[in-house]
Each structure stands twice: as structure tokens, then as C-alpha cells.
């Protein structure tokens, strides 16, 4: 057996079935209960079914791409997968809904894939067991259509007991065989418990009933008779249940069709509304832009007029001064009394204050924003990118710009001073990169903006969906061109996508799981390719350099971003990992 490394740090686990409304949900739930009871019986674990998305183990039937980066492949080949214990999706077991599942385990129906066997295997992963190379083990990677009958092969039993210990209560004939004896071996052979019966038999205790061993033959016959009777009853019940479920299924299918129809209509309506909103938004933006242009033109015209006025007044003043001088000279020369001239008025040159000063005076929010200005040497980064061979770092509504001579003075400054077509109420950008056409692409929430230099390209912003990204995606974490193959990658939470640079859309077979970028982790803040060709990933105050050849981070511990990227001085007690 192989222990994956992770285990649950509690023994009372909860589970929940996600697809409560699927046709065979009831049977699937029963079989999951039975599979769990097998693991439960051989360890200290206990399981409780709950109806909650917070359960430790979520059982899901899904097809193809289902949001975890490990897509299913239709009927055959991959049947299911599960995640090892941890928070979030850890412990969850996913089954390929395209398989032909046989939920009638225990009967003679051999059509389809035995769901009980597969569930038993996947739940082994959910508890921390990896694949075993023992072909008799439940945890063998390849599907085997064998009757498990609730017994756990030694290999799996040893594995689960190493993780969670064995059940202390060892009454009954099926206690773990840690020190096998003749008696227990005999008991094991004759009293095989079936998976379709409850795994515990508290009523049976050989130590309290010594006559049991002596009357064994009679008891076995009796047991056989009882078993057959139970089997017959159970088959009858199952037949009735099947009929009932068939009716329910038909009813549900009808309801499902109606619901789908309604959903389709609703979707269509929403789509139309969205398109209408987009059109309106475009019109609004166009109008805003026109207004801004008009305003700028007005400002320029006013400034020109002010300049002309100022020059005219200066000229007049100069002429007046010259006339006065001439009169004064004449007076001195000829003793003529000079006419009284009105005192000259001085015109001040109109001030041209920089934009930020005007904003500072006019915008009440500006002071508030100034307070939120991030600390250059103690901040995480929302986005980072090389743009026109200079490094741009984004945080909140601000950016820093780092050129050949280092950090430009006067930064951080507002992002909208550079790209004014970004939303007025911009609080942060999610990701930025320069594409192969030299355009600058900003990702903000569910939309992306493409700029040619500082001018927004026509038709933008567009929704992320237009790139082929899922409509449920709320944001992009990072966007970068990977130096290894010059492909563009987008990441969000646990997934990443590759963009086809010709079409600008997501390539097929994506998303994939972020774990492929080994050591980087999930939910990163930013990533980019630096001028040294290397790719760097950022999270919180640290960063990792990525080793493309080994396809993993060059250093397991993140390094502090500020000293490298912002040229901040190191603290007196801070040293590099290598030096440490």
C-alpha cells in the first residue's frame, strides 16, 4: 500500500452527495454508505451523511470538464478520481457521469461498471491511500469486476490502519487479523460478511456462546436458509423499489425537460439583456469619451484665449509704459505738464497647475485615496508586467514604474493617469500583460481591456467569456507569456488556461490544474516574464523564480519581493536563504 502523505486529523468525517436529483441518486448514496462502512469497520473512522457543501467528502457525478482541471473522457478509460485529504476540495470523489454505472451491486446484474467497487477505491484516496501495485488490493489502479463483499484485502486494511489505527472494539468474527490464530482463521472462512448486510453483528460473540462452534454445521444451514430468505425478500423489495424509481425517474425527466426549457429561455433572455447592456455601455463610453474630448478641446481653447489675452495685455502694458516714458522725457526736455494717466493694472499669467494638484483641490476623495497609497516596501502586488521594456507593478489604483535607472521618482501614481479609459471607479487591476502585437491587456473582474499604448482599442472592454473562458469565472489572478514556449497563460484560483495567440481564445484541453507549475501553489497574486527570460510568480509579500527545465520553483521558500523589485533596503536582520 502507498500512503499519499496527507491524512484527516479527525476521525469523525462527514460526506454529502452533490447530485441529489440524479435518477439513481438513492442507490448511489446507499452504495457510498456501504463503501464507507467498509473503511469504517477496519479503522477508527466514522462517517456521517449530511446535506451540506461543507461536508469533508463531496460525492459528485460530472462529465467532461467539470471545473477541477482534471476532465473526464466520456465512457471507458478513466472512471473516477478523488482528492487526497485536505481543506477545500480535498477528500472529494468525482465519478464520470458518462460511464454506464451498475448500481445493483449484490444482484446478478453484471451490466456496466460496478459502482460499489469504484466508490470503495475512490474513497480510499479520499482517506489518504495512494495506488497499490497489489492486483488483489482495492487500491489497485485498474478496475476489477470482483465481488468485494465488504471484505478489505490485507494490503488495504494495513494501509488504512496505519493511517487511522484499528477499531478498538474487536468483537465479532471480522476483527482485523493482526495475530492470526487457527480459531479466527476458521471463523473468517465460514462467516464471511457480505457487503449487502450490515458489517457489524453485535449479536454474535463466540466468546459468550461456546456452543456455537460445536453446533456449527446446523448453524451454517440455518444461516444459509436465513440468508436465502433475506435475499429473496431483498430482491422483492428491490423490484418494487425499481418500479417506483422508474416512475419517479420519468416524472423527474419530464420536470427536468420543462426546467431546461425554462432555463434556456431564461438564458436567452439574459443573453439579450447582457448584449443590450453591453451596447448601452459602449454607447455610454463613447459618449463619455466624446465629452472628455470636447472638454479637453474647450480647455485648450480657453487656455489659448487666456494666453492671447495675457499677451495682448502685456503688449498694451508695454506700449503704455513706453508712452509714459516718452511723455516723461518730453516733459523733462520741454517743461510740458504731462497729462494724468490712470494707474496701470497688472494681469497675472494664468496658472497651469499639474493635474494632480487640481484633483487634490477639487476631489474630496483624493485625500482619502492618498491615505490608501500602498507602502512601496511593504505591499503585495495585484499585477506585474514588462511593458515597453519597463517594469510596471500594480497595487490597488496605483502603479510603480521601474526603468533602467531604477524606480521612477513620484511613484506610486494612479493607474488612470496613464490609462484614462480604465473605469473611473477603478479599485484594482487583476492582471496585466503585453501581448505579441505589443498591445497592453488589462484584466479587471469579468472584463478585459486592450490598449494600444494608452488608447483603448475599439470594441473593448470585452467579457472574459469572449475568450472562451467559463462564464462562472469571476476574475483572473495572473497573465503572463511563458519564456519557455512563448505561449500566453492565464491563471485563476486552482486552474490555468493557455491562449491561442492567433485567435486570442482559450486552447482546447484547458483548463488544467495549477499544480503543474510545481511549488507555486494556488490563488497566486501575479506572474510575469522578466527581461532575463525567466518567469516569476508572486504571492503576498514574496515571489518565486520558476525553473522552466525542471518545471518547478527554483527555491521552495518565497523570497521577499521588495528588495529585488522595488530596490528597497534590506532590514538589518534579513539575509538571503542561501546565506542563512
Amino acid at each position: 500500500y502507498v500512503l499519499q502523505g496527507a491524512k484527516w486529523h479527525k476521525t469523525d468525517l462527514t460526506w454529502s452527495m452533490v447530485n441529489q436529483s440524479m435518477p439513481d441518486a438513492y442507490k448511489a448514496r446507499m452504495l457510498v454508505t456501504r463503501a464507507l462502512s467498509v473503511w469504517e469497520y477496519h479503522s477508527k473512522l466514522t462517517f456521517r451523511e449530511v446535506y451540506s457543501d461543507q461536508a469533508d467528502i463531496q460525492i459528485l457525478f460530472a462529465r467532461r470538464q467539470h471545473g477541477d482541471g482534471y476532465q473526464f473522457d466520456g465512457p471507458g478509460q478513466v472512471l473516477a478520481h478523488a482528492f487526497y485529504p485536505s481543506e477545500g476540495r480535498g477528500g472529494d470523489a468525482h465519478f464520470d457521469a458518462d460511464e454506464t454505472w451498475n448500481f445493483d451491486s449484490g444482484t446478478h446484474n453484471r451490466r456496466g461498471t460496478n459502482f460499489l467497487n469504484v466508490a470503495l477505491h475512490e474513497l480510499g484516496h479520499s482517506l489518504g491511500l495512494g495506488h497499490s501495485s497489489d492486483p488483489k488490493a482495492v487500491m489497485f489502479a485498474w478496475y476489477q469486476d470482483i465481488d468485494v463483499e465488504g471484505k478489505l484485502p490485507d494490503d488495504d486494511r494495513n494501509g488504512i490502519q496505519e493511517l487511522y489505527g484499528s477499531r478498538e472494539k474487536t468483537w465479532g468474527p471480522y476483527r482485523p487479523q493482526t495475530t492470526p490464530t487457527t480459531t479466527t482463521t476458521t471463523t473468517m472462512r465460514t462467516m464471511v460478511y457480505r457487503a449487502d448486510n450490515p458489517p457489524y453483528r453485535p449479536w454474535y460473540d463466540p466468546s459468550k456462546n461456546p456452543n456455537k462452534e460445536r453446533n456449527w454445521a446446523r448453524e451454517r444451514q440455518e444461516e444459509e436458509r436465513r440468508r436465502k430468505e433475506q435475499e429473496w425478500r431483498r430482491q422483492e423489495q428491490e423490484r418494487e423499489e425499481r418500479e417506483r424509481e422508474e416512475q419517479e425517474r420519468e416524472k423527474k425527466e419530464r420536470e427536468e425537460q420543462e426546467r431546461e426549457e425554462e432555463e434556456r429561455e431564461e438564458k436567452e433572455r439574459k443573453k439579450q439583456e447582457r448584449q443590450k447592456q453591453e451596447r448601452e455601455e459602449k454607447v455610454r463610453q463613447e459618449r463619455r469619451r466624446q465629452e472628455q474630448d470636447r472638454e479637453e478641446q474647450d480647455n485648450r481653447r480657453r487656455e489659448r484665449e487666456r494666453d492671447r489675452q495675457y499677451e495682448k495685455e502685456q503688449r498694451e502694458r508695454h506700449e503704455r509704459q513706453e508712452r509714459l516714458n516718452r511723455e516723461r522725457k518730453n516733459r523733462e526736455r520741454y517743461g510740458v505738464r504731462a497729462p494724468v494717466t490712470p494707474p496701470s493694472t497688472t494681469t497675472m499669467r494664468p496658472t497651469r497647475k499639474p493635474y494632480y494638484t487640481i484633483v487634490h483641490q477639487q476631489n474630496h476623495h483624493h485625500k482619502k485615496q492618498r491615505k490608501l497609497k500602498p507602502d512601496t516596501c511593504m505591499t503585495s502586488y495585484d499585477a506585474i508586467s514588462m511593458i515597453r521594456s519597463e517594469l510596471f507593478i500594480f497595487r490597488g489604483p496605483y502603479l510603480w514604474r521601474i526603468g533602467k535607472s531604477g524606480l521612477y521618482p513620484g511613484y506610486p501614481t494612479e493607474i488612470r493617469r496613464q490609462w484614462s479609459a480604465l473605469p473611473v471607479n477603478l479599485t484594482q487591476v487583476d492582471a496585466v500583460y503585453e501581448n505579441q502585437q505589443g498591445h497592453i491587456v488589462f484584466f479587471i473582474g469579468r472584463q478585459y481591456y486592450v490598449f494600444n499604448s494608452v488608447n483603448l482599442e475599439p470594441g473593448y472592454p470585452k467579457p472574459l467569456v469572449s475568450m472562451g473562458l467559463p462564464p462562472t469565472l469571476t476574475h483572473i489572478d495572473a497573465a503572463f507569456v511563458w519564456g519557455h514556449n512563448n505561449h500566453t497563460f492565464l491563471t485563476s484560483d486552482t486552474l490555468y488556461w493557455r491562449i491561442d495567440d492567433n485567435t486570442g481564445e482559450v486552447e482546447p484541453s484547458y483548463p488544467r490544474d495549477m499544480s503543474l507549475w510545481s511549488g507555486v501553489g494556488y490563488k497566486i497574486d501575479a506572474a510575469f516574464q522578466y527581461k532575463d527570460g525567466k518567469t516569476y510568480f508572486f504571492k503576498n509579500l514574496g515571489y518565486w523564480e520558476f525553473d522552466d527545465d525542471r518545471m518547478k520553483v527554483a527555491h521552495a521558500r518565497p523570497k521577499l519581493s521588495a528588495p529585488k523589485w522595488m530596490q528597497c533596503a534590506r532590514g538589518s536582520n534579513e539575509v538571503d536563504d542561501e546565506l542563512r
Binding site: 495506488h131 519557455h484 510545481s518
Partner: protein, 99 residues
């Protein structure tokens, strides 16, 4: 002439080996080319794990094994496969326990 003809393309085998951790998953992105010896080693490892004769060749038993339905979780524990979160940086590499 006596070698059994594999009924499965090398591409499928290559993808299978990457998908189930016999070759680095990163090859999916990097498109790294592996030497013949590396491929043979990976096939041997698969054959050993699948409990079929270890030949290092894509023989009929290997082709059958590859086409068999199976679990989607990789066969060798690695940080890449199905770890729900990358929580292990601070505690160092995983300790692999095998009986």
C-alpha cells in the same frame, strides 16, 4: 518479425505515461522530448505497477493494460497529482511510505 505488434499509437502511450505520473506531467506544457531509454524506463515502471510482464516494450499486454478502465488518480505520488492544495512548502518534501 516475432515482436507482437502493439495496437496502440505511441502518442497515446506517451500521453498515458504523462497522465498517470510515469513521465513528468510538465511535459504536457513543455513538450519536452524524452530519450528512448527514459520512455522504456517509464513503460517498465507501468508494467511493474500493472502487474504484467516487464519488457520495456509496448507489447500486447501493455496495450491491453492501457486500454483498461481505471482510476484517474496518478500512480506515483507527486505534488502534481490530486493534492488539493499546495500546503507542504513549509514542512518539506513528502515522505513516501511503501510496504
Amino acid at each position: 518479425a516475432t515482436k507482437p505488434k502493439a495496437s496502440i499509437s505511441e502518442d497515446i502511450v506517451y500521453n498515458y505515461l504523462m497522465q498517470f505520473d510515469y513521465l513528468p506531467k510538465s511535459d504536457l506544457e513543455t513538450g519536452a522530448l524524452r530519450t528512448e531509454e527514459q520512455l522504456k524506463d517509464a513503460i517498465r515502471s507501468l508494467q511493474s505497477f500493472g502487474n504484467i510482464p516487464v519488457t520495456g516494450q509496448i507489447d500486447s499486454a501493455t496495450a491491453r493494460l492501457i486500454q483498461k478502465p481505471r482510476c484517474g488518480v496518478g500512480d506515483h505520488k507527486s505534488a502534481n497529482s490530486f493534492s488539493a492544495d499546495n500546503l507542504y512548502h513549509d514542512i518539506g518534501p513528502h515522505v513516501r511510505v511503501r510496504r
